[in-house]
Structures are given as C-alpha cells and as structure tokens.
Point group: C2
Amino acid sequence: MTQTIKLAEYLFKRLKQLGVGSIHGVPGDYNLTLLDYVEPAGIHWVGNCNELNAGYAADGYARINGIGALITTFGVGELSAINAIAGAYTERAAVVHIVGTPARASQDNRLLIHHTFNDGEYRRFGQMHAHVTIAQTSLRDPRTTPAQIDHVLQQCIIHSRPVYIEVPVDLVGASVAEDSLSTPLQIPNAIHTPAHDQALQKVFDRVYAAKQPIILVDGESRALNIVEEVQQVVEATKWPTWTTTFAKGLLDETLPNVHGIYQGTFDSQEAQDFFNGSDLVICFGPHFSSTNSYSYTSIPKAELTISFSDTEIKLGNEVFRDIPAKHAVALFLKQLELSKIKSYSPYPTLFRPAAVQFSSVHSDGAISQDKLWGLLSNFLEPGDIVFGETGTAGYGSRVMPLPKNTRLFTPVTWLSIGYMLPASQGAALAQRELIAKSRYHDLKDARTILLIGDGSFQMTAQELSTIIKENLNLVLFLINNDGYTIERCIHGLNQGYNDVARWNYLLTPAAFGARDDTFTATAKTWGDLEKVLVDERLVTSKGLRMVEIFMDREDAPAGPLLKMINAQKEAEQRAAGNA
Amino acid sequence: MTQTIKLAEYLFKRLKQLGVGSIHGVPGDYNLTLLDYVEPAGIHWVGNCNELNAGYAADGYARINGIGALITTFGVGELSAINAIAGAYTERAAVVHIVGTPARASQDNRLLIHHTFNDGEYRRFGQMHAHVTIAQTSLRDPRTTPAQIDHVLQQCIIHSRPVYIEVPVDLVGASVAEDSLSTPLQIPNAIHTPAHDQALQKVFDRVYAAKQPIILVDGESRALNIVEEVQQVVEATKWPTWTTTFAKGLLDETLPNVHGIYQGTFDSQEAQDFFNGSDLVICFGPHFSSTNSYSYTSIPKAELTISFSDTEIKLGNEVFRDIPAKHAVALFLKQLELSKIKSYSPYPTLFRPAAVQFSSVHSDGAISQDKLWGLLSNFLEPGDIVFGETGTAGYGSRVMPLPKNTRLFTPVTWLSIGYMLPASQGAALAQRELIAKSRYHDLKDARTILLIGDGSFQMTAQELSTIIKENLNLVLFLINNDGYTIERCIHGLNQGYNDVARWNYLLTPAAFGARDDTFTATAKTWGDLEKVLVDERLVTSKGLRMVEIFMDREDAPAGPLLKMINAQKEAEQRAAGNA
Ligand SMILES: Cc1ncc(C[n+]2csc(CCOP(=O)(O)OP(=O)(O)O)c2C)c(N)n1
Ligand SMILES: Cc1ncc(C[n+]2csc(CCOP(=O)(O)OP(=O)(O)O)c2C)c(N)n1
C-alpha cells in the first residue's frame, strides 16, 4: 500500500530537504491552514511586515543559502510581492513562491469572494506570475501533486530562478503519495557526449595559444553553481582576473591576481589597456546588463571571448549548446594543462582595490564620498555579508577591497530600491543558520552589513523590526544625504521630486521595538566616523547597530555617478551664465 | 498651422482639466524628465516613500476627488504598485497609472538596460497591467499620442477604473497637436431610445405595485456617479433604506429612513424580517462580493430586485442593456410619481445605528470591541473622512452612525491590508484641495480619521511621514491588540504566525519627522479614552495626531468576526477537554 502524507507536509519536507531552513511571508485567509505545517516541519517561520519585504527577504536568504521560500495569500499578498519575484528572476535567486488560494469549489463556482476582482476570474494572478517565474503549478489533484511540486522545485534549482505554486486551501490536508520523498530532488547530471570533448578541444586550442589571457568572472556563476571551480581556475592559472559588479564577493579578492571590478571606461587607463590588449578573455557566468557592464564598456570583445553560461560554451560567435556550465567548467579544470598556458612573469603591475586610512583625512573634515568607502572597508571582516543599496552606497562600495569569504551585493540589473534592507534580513538569517550547521567557512560568528541611502531606507524601513525581532547580527550604515542623490546625478539636481521627507532615522530602531541599549550613532566628520568604527558597542555587540552618516546632497562616488553629477552641475552653470 | 505642445504638457493639462490637483508617485531614471512638467502644470507632486504606498494614496485621492494619478518608473516602480492598481480596479477608483519607460531606441534594440530582465523583452509589465486596468496605451508616435491619451482617460472616467499609460523617456518633450485640448474630455451622454422608456415602464409597474418596497444602496453608485440622484430617491420615497458596507457613508445617514448597513444574517431579527418580507428591493450600484454581502446573506432575492448597474437595469432575470446608470436613475427620478408609491405610515420601527455613551461603561474598565466603535462615533464631525482598515477596526466601525457628509471606507472586496494608511493620506489631501476650491459641503475645515490595527499599520507605516510632510489634518487611532486578531478569528487563534513584532507605535511620528508638539496618547481604559477624546490638543490641533488604543488580542466586534472567534475558542475548549 502506498504510504501517504498530507500535501502540506510533502511540500515542506521537500523544501527542507533542499535546505530551506526558514520561510518568509505574511499570513492571510487562504494560507493560514498551510502555515500550520511550517514549524512542525522543522522550518522557521519569519512573518514579515508586508509581502514585498517578505519577497525581498526570501531573495536575500536564497542568495546566501542557495534556495529560499515565500508564502503569501491569494491576490493581495502575491501581487504585493511580485516585484520582488521579478528581481529574483532577473538576478537569479531561487525563490519558491507559494500562494494559498481559495478552495477549488470557490474557484470552480466563480464565487465573488474577497481578494478577487468580483468578477469570478481566478486565473489572473497566476498569469501575471508566469511573466516573472521560470515554472508555475496550480495544484488541483492530489494524485499529481507530488510530481507537480517536484517538477517546479527542480526547475527552481536548475535555473536558480523563482517558481510559483498555488495551493488551494481545501487541498492543504489532502493525502498524497509519500514515496517520491525518499529520492532527493537534484539537478540532473550532464550527459557527456563527444560533442563536449570537441568543444573543449576548441577551448583549449585558444587557451594554449593565448599570449595575454585574462579572466572575467560574472555573477551568474553563482546561479550556475560554478563558483568553486572558477576559484580554482583563477588560482591555478594565476591569470589577471577581474570580476563584474555582480560577481564581486564571489571570488577570493585577497589573491594577488584578483583585481576587483573591471570598470570599463571608468577604470584606470592601465587596467583598460591591459584588458583591451588581451587576446583571450575567459568569461564565467556572463550577465551583461547596462549597470553591470558600466554601460556596456566592460564587455570584452566577442571574438576574443570564451564564455561559460547556462548550458553553453561560446567561442566568439560559435555556440556549443547543451554543455551545462557545471559540467563544462569541471571538465575544463580537469583537463587544463598548466604547463601549456601563458604564465605571467613578471606579473604585470595592475591596480588592486585598497583600503583608505584615516591618516589621509582631517578629523574635522566633512565625510565625503571619495574616501568613505575605502575607509569603511577597514571595518569589514572575513565572513561578512555586505549590501550596498542602489544609490551612492551601491556604487561607492564597489571599490572596497573585500576580506576572504565576504560577499558583496550591489546594484546589478533589477535595481529595485528598498530591496536591500529586507534582503539583508534574509541573508543575515541564512548566515546564522549556516553558521549553526557549521557550513559557514568554519566561522562561529559573522555579520551582515547594510550600506543604504535615506531614500532607499524609507521604502522598506519597517523591516528593521524583523531584524530586531529575529535578533539578527546586522550593522546598518545609513547615508543621509537629504534625498535621492543618485537621481540628482541623473537628472533634476535641484528638483523637489528628488527630495525625501526628513526623518529622525536613529529613532527608527526604538520605534520598531529595539532594546533600549541598541547602539546608534551619528557621524558628520571623519573624526566622528573614526571614533564610531572602533566603538566597542559597535564592534562587539550583537543584534542591530545603526550609524547615520551625513553627507552632502550633491556628492557622488568616483565613477559613473560623479561623471553624471558633474555634467549636471556644468549644465546648471552654463544655464546660469546664459541667464 | 497646428498649434503644438509638448507631450508631457498635453498629458498633465488633460489631467488638470479632469480635476487632478495632485499626483502621487516615486521618481526613477525613466520618469525624471516627465516629472519636470508636473508642477509647472499647476499640479502638486507628492513623492511617497514607495510605489505601493503611492498607488494606495492615489486610490484614496481618487475616491474623494473623483480621479487620481500615479507616476512610477519602468519595471521596479510599476510592479511595486500593481497590487494597489488591482485594488483600484476591484473597487472602482479612477487612477491613472503613468509609467516612464526607456527610450524607444532602447526598446527597439532590445538593450539589456537596468529594470529589465536582461533578456531584451520590454512588453511584460504592460501585459501584466492589462490584467488590472480597464485600458492601456503605449505611446510611440507623437501624431497619435493625444488621441491615445484621451481614449484611455475617457475609459478611466467612464468606468471609474484604473488605466495605464507608458511614456518613453524620449517622447516626453515631443511636439504633439494641442487642438483637442480645447474640447474637455467627458463621459459621453446616453442616447435616449424607446427601449429605455419601455424598461422604465416595467420598472414603474413594479414600483407602483409594491406593498413593502425597500431600497438597498451599494457602493458602485459612486463609480456610476449616481449618488446624488440616489439620495434624492431615498428622500422622496421615504422608503426604508439600507446600504451595503461599500456604500455606507455615501448616503445621508441622518435621514430617519436610512438604517445603516444591512447585515444579512448578522442583522437584528427585526431588520431581517422586514428586509426579507419586502416585495421589492430597488438596488443601486450592486457589488455583491462575500465581504460586502456578509457572505452573500444580505443579497436580496433576484426576482424581487430591480437593480441599476453600469449600463443595465435588471428586473429579476430580465436585463435591459445599454441604459447607463446615470441616465437611468435620472429618468427614474424625473418620472417617478410619488402619489402612486407605497407611503409608509406609520413608519415601521427599524433599528438605526446609534452612538454609545461613556455613561454606559466603567471608567477603569478595559477597552473592549463591543462598545469602542459606538463610543468613537461621538468623535465624528460632519465632513470627516473615516477609514476603518481591514481587521477588527474595519468590521467594528461599520456600526458607527455617521454625521452628514461623512465618508466611511471599510473592507469591501480587495481587502489589501496596509491600503488605508496611504489611502487616508491621499484622501486627506483631496479633502484639503476640495475645501480650498470651496467644493467641500460648504465646510472650511474637515478631518480624515484612520482606524487601523497594529498589523495593518506595520505594512505601510512609513507613509505617516508623507502625512507629516504634507501637514495633513489626520487623526490616527491605532488598535494595538498584539497581532492579527482578525486572522486569529479565522484560524490559528494562538499560532505564532498571527503575532507581529512589538513596536513602540507612538514613537513612529517622531521617527518619521513629526514636530515635537505632535499629539500622541495611549488609552487602555474607557476612562483614558474619554479623557483623550476631549483633549484640546486632539480636538483642535491640526496635522497628525495619534492615539494608541490597547485591546485584548482575542476580542472581536459583534458580527462575523465575533462569531468566528467564538467558534475557535469553543473548538479549543473541546480539544482541551478531549486531551
Ligand atoms: C522601487 C524603485 N523605485 C524607484 C527607483 C528609482 N531610484 C533609483 S535610485 C533612487 C534613489 C536612491 O536614493 P538613496 O537611497 O537616498 O541613495 P543616495 O543616492 O541618495 O545615496 C531611486 C528613487 C528604483 N530604482 N526602484
Ligand atoms: C496585503 C495583505 N496581506 C495579508 C492579508 C491577510 N490579512 C487580512 S486582515 C490581516 C490582519 C490585520 O491585523 P490588524 O491590522 O492588526 O487588525 P486586527 O484585526 O488585529 O485589529 C491579515 C494579515 C491581507 N488582507 N492583505
């Protein structure tokens, strides 16, 4: 006789098997009974303040943990979260979006229940989610439910992209066959074919012939699960290596041949010359969006590039399909003959990101963008997870040299502001869980650090309360530069629409329930900042700590933003001159 | 020669003509230049903290003002707001959602710019919006732009439902023909036909024959723009009249024949008997969703009902199409011969909502749901706009007797919690603008009052800062009952997922930038509440005032919630007994 199990139990057991330790979300009438099964499955429930925040948190959790999950309620809940799901799709976070939907009877009878459009049409929200997820399933029949769940979850992990599961409230306790649970879900192995060898051969021909080869690591490497292999390639070849913005923090930046982000036309002339002078670029996990490629200026020439992406190797314009990246890079690593490759000696002089010292600033000088990020990097420790939110923080923090095993998240492609505060909540939680499972770089302790502008903070500020409630180890640096400075750089330097309401930011932890002894501090000068950064309460305390850093509203970090804001200022001066 | 005008000028002039005095939204890279034209068009720009909140605010604004508008940026902004647009669709608020999109060149070249999915597909977000808007337009060609804009705006006002306009950033300053602007946009007049007279004749046959006729006013009456006419019908016939939840606050409840909400099986036996004993129900603007109809129990029998909806009159199962409600009700009113209708004398004894007096409670007794709402109703003044958020507040406040010209918003169908705080911001702003234009019931002053639970408050709390920034006249009563009590009523009375983080709610105004002298107060007992409600600072001061009312987490107002929570408690006791 088939062993059975309740549908909800099946779902959560599968998620647990895949490594989901916590689920984010918000309750609602159509998911309450489903929620009854979360904690009994040994999964921690994190109730967020709202669904968008829950979606962002699940994404942050997934980027650290490998996979995350979100539960919302029909219509109102799922649509509130859809922008977060879109971001997870774009930047490849494996988020399982589970929606509690009305009973099948209500749906079939087109009942005019709440959270519908009062028109009997129940399929809209699923259709909308099809645009932002890699696979969807609407559970209707207990016989096929396990297979449906397994299918979408497998798609989720194969593609590292969100999926969508509708669970009608009347099916939560339905009996389903348990047997498939005994076979763990996994990404299917690649089937090796002679075509793979042929492709690799062509790759090696190019690799062994290269006179000035370099490596460019991009951020889809994480989704493709090739980070470790790529790290080994970088270590073995000792070739000059850059990352994109998306990949910064995936590689060990303390290696002497890792040079931080290649910034295209914004990089030093020296780096540009070397990059452009190379005759071969090995590129892993390419994701060439405008932001991630410095407006396309950091993309290597196609004809000089070998790239490893989802299931393809590209050699110039030649595409070898159906060679999954994991398999391809493993083969590459195994077959690579180091004796045949270019060995750089002496190693070329190439810039590497470096910390800035406080000795280089005046202690009563106002804090400015040019040195803040380099100074802040002294604060980083191995194992930290750093979030630099879209805005001056996200651009500024790209130049920070990172200790080992430090992850950094900065704007890549979706760039939805407000994302990083809840995402840091999810990431900090995943970090803590991994530490507890002794799966976090042998560390017993680590922090999550959020660098965020005032405008972005206002978007999702209430999620601070979840950080507090969950007692997560998080240091928040708030950049108070009186509004949307990054937008001032782009357009409307002095327009009112780039202002934001003036908050008392350091009161927010207390308002959101923080303990009285929660550390908060203000820094207006370099001296203030220096003192704060070594303050015992900041350095050694756990839980939330918050520092407000004041900066000029028309100050921007070096790179694209500074270029834009200078152009705006010049235009203003010209206009003033003409007047 | 054709006079021309810039596209953005055209759009905002049209909105201004339609009565849009303020636009809500959030800036973004693809709408910045568009925003340059808002204030010069004489329209106030309200930058909200995030796009969902901006959407909610635009909806609240539209429900008071008749029409509202929202500007977001491509992808991240518009998807963040989509749940608000869905709510506006469901409950018929005329919200114009304008999205600043990438330049046509980027779109046509499928450029991998930020806020896309990095796959060159630009049409997704428009497709998603087609599910939640009544009309959509993607501006591409300056020659047809005015007609496209006019078409969707007309659909918006005809249906009182949201529409969607995509403005590519490179078209903002394009020259378009100005001439159509001289013809105001309006809802086309009905074309009278003999079929209308025939339908009306049938209506009158039933009306004149009725022995116990009653009137049921529902909330789509506002969208159909028939509220004034309905008011006149109610006054002229003097028939017993009830509203639905959706319509409460549309009619003058001080009239002796207006009996508040008909609550179906939750109403008094007396009311049920009279309602069910009637042989004719004239129903205006029906919207029979589960929540709005007390689980369908307040819906009158179809064969005894004459209803006026969008463009139809329904007489039992007979449907007369293409008789727009405005036209139909106007004809009805004009042709109605009062001498022929049932005149109630003596007028039957039927319950009318009444205030509760403080003399009926003990001053040191804890505040409880059974009397709170009746007591709070003493606080209301003519012209107030009252929001009772989904939760115990939304159910409890339904029983409050309303002074003249007082609008009340409580859960109807979409029921997205977090809606009402930003919506009250939008409504308060519309209220102030109408007062300034002397178009608000001859009042020089009026308040917006928000009744909201702790859980709902947490969803969109930051929008308090916009209320503060705009210095809106708003009194906020926060129901602190330690979590999602309405959900505890439905399921999971003691489950952790129905808890919320414990905030220091009264610190939030200060955190969000309120002046030091902002009035805040706590009420735990009836005595506290009595004192607070007459406190000069609450009553006479302007701007934001906030009162936190503590209540038991397992207390619910009479009606469906109380019934459910009692059932849960009994089930718990049974379970405990069995254990
Ligand atoms: C959801 C969303 N809305 C709007 C935008 C457009 N946008 C990008 S950055 C930004 C301002 C960020 O300002 P802030 O966080 O204060 O950082 P700053 O540059 O001032 O340091 C805005 C509004 C966006 N990217 N995402
Ligand atoms: C966006 C959204 N998410 C979730 C829900 C489900 N839901 C309905 S009411 C409610 C709780 C409201 O609690 P609170 O505001 O504290 O009011 P109370 O009943 O406790 O007075 C929830 C979570 C919803 N309606 N909308």
